[in-house]
Symmetry: C2
Subunit: 140 residues, 2 copies
């Protein structure tokens, strides 16, 4: 399969980018870098791509395995190198699950399946970053 | 520097993800994959991150070098592998510049500086994909 996107300059530091969903997104620099903050910072879109990819796997497995989960979130901290070109060299990805009746083993299995089998974005991140993945269960 | 983002499950296949710009974005699967298409596909966000990163470099250099450009866009075609985990293994990135008075050499220099020196996202892509970059000039 091929993904195609077009990203168009709108003047100054602002861009509009297509997405296979049919919904466009805006990219802009912050005022400190000559932009007007009218869009997302592009590098961090990589992290939303990572969280979204793994999140969709886990959400799909929660459904398939009929697990009882009130909510979950993924927190990512990614260190950038100091020198140009600045890339993410160390990434930590924490899954937080919330619920009164969480099945620790099965939830860990959803994370493991995403990390080891399904998540293509994580596979890409592993080629340039040291990635650590942790899961936390919260009663609520 | 560290980038931190939080991505929260909103039920079914929908997520809300933060961005350092302060603007949140939504991620969702399409209806064919159990979602409601109320957000971006996460994997392609990587491509918007790539185009945005290089685009900001080029926009910034156009300004600094006082180049006469009416508009420009970046078209990306990225091939996904067939087997899980599906990742982008081949990426082509075409810069299209539009204007009546384009300076070919200097515009090529903006692209080269981004590709070889500044664009951290491109540096990450090079670790997992074969990336080809081309520039095209259009009179208009």
């Amino acid at each position: 399969m091929t993904n195609k996107i077009t990203t168009t300059w709108l003047g100054n530091m602002k861009f509009e980018s297509t997405n296979p969903s049919g919904q466009n997104l805006f990219i802009d620099a912050g005022e400190e870098n000559g932009g007007n903050n009218e869009g997302y910072r592009p590098k961090a879109l990589m992290l939303s791509g990572l969280a979204g990819c793994a999140g969709l796997d886990v959400a799909s497995l929660i459904k398939k395995m009929k697990l009882d989960v009130n909510s979950f979130k993924i927190e990512i901290e990614a260190d950038l190198t100091e020198e140009h070109p600045k890339y993410y060299d160390k990434v930590s990805m924490d899954f937080h699950f919330y619920g009164d009746n969480l099945d620790e083993k099965k939830l860990q299995k959803t994370v493991d399946l995403s990390a080891e089998k399904y998540c293509g974005v994580l596979e890409m991140f592993r080629q340039f970053a040291e990635v650590s993945i942790n899961s936390f269960l919260h009663k609520k």
